[in-house]
Symmetry: C2
Subunit: 308 residues, 2 copies
């Protein structure tokens, strides 16, 4: 597609990224991209931004990891709806310091897109004062799994083990290299196939854990008009992390789901090599409330970009 | 939908924007938005960013105009494909100086979305060092009109009168208030119905004029593998602007189209109260080349974010 772009430094940069992407980029070069959605499916769309100094700091990650992580975080939102990604659009704001590293960023974006079985449909590039990567993900699902379907009596499950990201971040913020859990921070994995398995198994609601288990449980509880009662001692924790640390850790991109019945966790774990743990239940209670036995409520606030 | 969001300053800001949007925002509050596309239609998607200091400067526009203009520019890309907008996603990067003006920005975004007959499906808000508004537009069309369909022998048409935006920008850059053509800069109008009329009338290719007639003609010529021959004297110019100024003026958001036959420009003008002007023709020539008789080729370079 590179010959279909006009001349100029901006298009040269885009051309280099397209060469790097190869057949991971399709249909680029028109005003808009064209996409077919499987008949009967609903379209599921989401947008997520990663901004330098807010979502990451340059010394913590390689340029490739920055690109990967930005795209993976966005893909996770569509995964949480139990949808299959059908394509992404990438809007880059590029500061002078990053101009020479665009191909590495593109490589990371390409890795995330490939890992999720989809392609780059198009994008936009602008000069900017800070690096920003805004990823729009388009997906489709016959029956998208919302946040709002939890009912009193449902069980609450979580995938993976939580807290590794928070532990890595604490080390990085203290100026030390992240040790045990660095990969959890640098290389999150959108749980696409896992979410579809859970939806097929009857899940009533789901959310991906981006703000922290406690905060995202509140979002799900608010959307469903229910209360969530979680046993702190049951939360699956990363090595060296306690329940409170696990409940506060954001950007995990694991799934929190509610289900009207017990799931076959052993089958899930065999198939995905990932724990699936029942951690509590849904009660009528106070709409939007979450109680985690053993963790003070005041310690559950999620990350708030505007509070800092 | 506002009750479905959790607590926190970030969500408070989103709630205030949702109140301002009213029924112009639908379905917000899940990980991703769900959308149906009319059966038989293809989905058309595009993303566009407006960044403070790059695409606008704060003193030139009100906060409402900044929001309107950002969304209108993005909607224009989908209009150029002769598609009907079906929804937008808004990703905001918000610097401290803009926190108190988010509702005004939201009002402008809402105006553009309403004017184009669509709604806000979702979005994302992050703290940032500079204001950025990244708009993803989803649309659909039975037969999207690409840039790549121009054939030798086609005629070249343009909507509207060009150069007003460049004239306004020259005044603003010189530190003077824009006089005659300020509205062309502050309040561009995506040509949605116009593009669909042109597609129905048999247009073979189209592009919206964002980089300038000369530069965008090159993009269309490159995508179609043809050369465009334009008569400078026929370019419809805004008051006080010459052909060169009109050919260089970007962010016009008028349409440049190619058509295999003469169009009924009088009917177009009666229906849309907008000029439709034949300005040249498509020739085999050199793929990607554009010649505008009376305007030196070297004066046709479009805006390049990375050349400055």
């Amino acid at each position: 597609m590179s010959t279909a772009l006009g001349p100029g430094a901006e298009f040269d940069a885009i051309r280099r990224m397209l060469i790097r992407w190869g057949d991971r980029a399709t249909g680029i070069g028109d005003d808009a991209a064209v996409l077919s959605v499987p008949r009967g499916d609903s379209l599921v769309v989401s947008v997520d931004s990663a901004i330098e100094g807010r979502h990451f700091r340059a010394p913590w990650l390689s340029a490739t990891e920055i690109g990967y992580r930005a795209a993976a975080a966005a893909l996770s939102d569509v995964a949480a709806m139990a949808a299959q990604p059908r394509g992404v659009l990438i809007a880059l704001g590029v500061s002078p310091a990053w101009r020479d590293r665009l191909e590495e960023i593109a490589e990371g974006i390409g890795e995330a897109v490939s890992a999720c079985g989809t392609t780059i449909l198009g994008g936009n590039m602008s000069a900017a004062g800070e690096l920003s990567i805004t990823t729009t993900v388009l997906g489709s699902a016959y029956a998208p799994l919302p946040r709002s379907g939890a009912k009193p009596g449902d069980l609450v499950y979580v995938t993976g083990r939580l807290g590794g990201v928070g532990a890595a971040l604490a080390e990085l913020l203290a100026g030390r290299p992240a040790t045990t859990h660095r990969a959890r921070f640098a290389h999150p994995v959108p749980r696409i196939a896992e979410a579809r398995w859970l939806a097929d198994a009857g899940a009533s609601a789901a959310i991906d854990i981006s703000d922290g288990l406690g905060a995202d449980a509140r979002h799900l509880a608010a959307a469903s008009g229910v209360e969530l009662a979680v046993e702190g001692a049951r939360i699956p924790c990363a090595d060296g992390v306690d329940a409170e640390g696990a409940a506060r850790s954001g950007e995990e991109y694991e799934l929190l789901v509610t289900v009207p019945h017990t799931l076959d966790a052993a089958e899930f774990e065999t198939r995905f090599r990932l724990p699936l743990t029942e951690i509590g239940c849904v009660v009528a209670g106070v709409a939007g409330a979450v109680h985690i036995a053993g963790v003070p409520d005041s310690h559950l606030a999620g990350h708030d970009h505007f509070s800092a």
